[in-house]
């Protein structure tokens, strides 16, 4: 506990062993504003950092931008966020003093970092996703090439990160054990993947609404083929969905599915 009278913390930091150069009572190196307390190891990016450091930096940066939190990764890959003296999350503000990012993203991310479950993030050259039947159902694997291609294939009227690292991360969290092992529409009885984006997109779409209209809304889970299958498009608005249903190439608010090779 931080005692403002003496300007020191009076209880032992649970993660004091990570700061061996300090006494156990030097919470956040005795500066609760500039230093970040280790809250736990509930979000761990060590595997992604080892797989592709640039991708890990991009994920951290995008999560900061979308949440307004200041994130720090320790040497073990544990991610934490900066807090004020009262233990509340410090939120970055723009030049007008307005909080940046989305409240929904902030709440979801702080909840993850403060949870008792560890969500790990790694890399893969396969599909970005979660192996739900494996020994670790809380491991999210990113294919950095896939995420980069998706951003490159986003229509110019949309923010390139509307399906970038952070928003994809929040989608994948819904597939983890922590997130309730949610299924996408093709496997949910009564849902058609060409009509709905599914449960995993409820949070990402809320975040997009809070970030601004340039983020659009993912409206379906599946992409639509047009022009005799030369391209597949994800509609990112009701208008582009209507166009795709009519077999027309959308004029705006879409993402071309990156088929790759």
């Amino acid at each position: 506990m931080y005692d403002p009278q003496i300007g020191r913390f009076t209880t032992v930091d649970a993660f004091a062993e990570k700061y061996i150069s300090m006494t156990p009572y030097q919470y956040g190196a005795n500066n609760p504003i500039l230093f970040i307390d280790v809250n736990g190891d509930s979000l761990n990016v060590a595997q992604l950092r080892d797989y592709d450091a640039n991708a890990n930096n991009a994920l951290t940066s995008d999560l900061q931008s979308k949440s307004g939190l200041t994130l720090t990764t320790d040497e073990n890959g544990n991610v934490t966020y900066a807090k004020d003296a009262k233990g509340k999350a410090l939120i970055s503000r723009d030049e007008n003093g307005k909080k940046i990012g989305s409240r929904a993203a902030r709440n979801a991310l702080t909840k993850i970092i403060n949870s008792e479950t560890t969500i790990s993030v790694g890399g893969t050259d396969g599909l970005t996703g979660v192996t739900m039947d494996g020994p670790n159902p809380n491991l999210i694997l990113f294919n950095p090439e896939q995420t980069q291609s998706t951003m490159n294939n986003t229509s110019s009227d949309l923010n390139k990160t509307t399906d970038g690292y952070a928003l994809t991360f929040f989608h994948e969290v819904g597939h983890t054990g922590y997130g309730g092992a949610g299924q996408d529409p093709p496997f949910v009885p009564g849902q058609n993947a060409y009509e709905t984006a599914g449960r995993q997109e409820i949070l990402p779409n809320r975040i997009r609404r809070q970030l601004g209209s340039e983020y659009g809304q993912r409206t379906t889970y599946n992409s639509y083929p047009v022009q005799s299958g030369q391209q597949n498009y994800f509609p990112w608005s009701q208008k582009s969905l209507r166009q795709l249903k009519a077999g027309i190439v959308p004029t705006q608010t879409y993402i071309i599915q990156p088929w790759g090779k």
């Binding site: 599909l127 496997f187 083929p225 299958g229 030369q230 090779k261």
Partner: protein, 182 residues
């Protein structure tokens, strides 16, 4: 006379193939999970499907993982699970020609990576590459365990295990266990 006998024999063979539990289960999966996910207002033939020769996104399960699956479905018979694991040590044994009215094309892993080529080769295709596993059964052959997955390119796909149980000669899905999601 000889021709008549030959036709009768072929009809009997057809009936035998269709009545195999494997075919009944595969047909149920294709009906419930593939054809019901058709794209609205589109011109493709939903009866043209592409199936992978081997389910590349399915993890190779080990028999000692049974308890974890049992936790997800208490009625899962250990024999069913072990039979599934054993049968999937080898490649998929799937007779694509036995599905009348559904044109099934089998592709290998390398072919499955070239989406542009698949679209140009099969313009009436539904845009999904399907994955099926061999089916494990219990001793009584009234419980089955099978994997189904699909991929429609980067960012779209998933896989599940389905436990089927036979009641009054009909196979019904009793439990879905998620395998992977993207």
């Amino acid at each position: 006379m000889g021709n008549t006998i030959l036709i009768i024999l072929m009809l009997c063979l057809n009936v035998a193939v269709y009545s195999q539990p494997e075919n009944k289960i595969y047909k149920k999966i294709i009906h419930d999970y593939v054809l019901k996910q058709s794209q609205p207002n589109f011109k493709y033939s939903s009866t043209k499907l592409i199936v992978l020769e081997d389910p590349i996104n399915m993890r190779k399960l080990n028999t000692n993982e049974f308890s974890r699956f049992k936790e997800k479905y208490k009625k899962l018979d250990e024999y069913t699970f072990i039979d599934f694991v054993k049968k999937n040590q080898v490649g998929l044994n799937f007779d694509s020609s036995s599905f009348s009215g559904i044109d099934i094309v089998m592709v290998n892993k390398e072919q499955s990576k070239n989406w542009n080529q698949l679209y140009s080769l099969y313009p009436n295709w539904n845009g999904s590459i399907l994955e099926l596993s061999n089916i494990g059964f219990n001793k009584e052959r009234d419980q089955a365990f099978v994997y189904y997955g699909f991929s429609s390119g980067p960012g779209v796909g998933g896989g599940i295990y389905i436990v089927f149980e036979k009641k009054r000669e009909e196979w019904k899905p009793k439990k879905v266990i998620p395998a992977w999601a993207t």
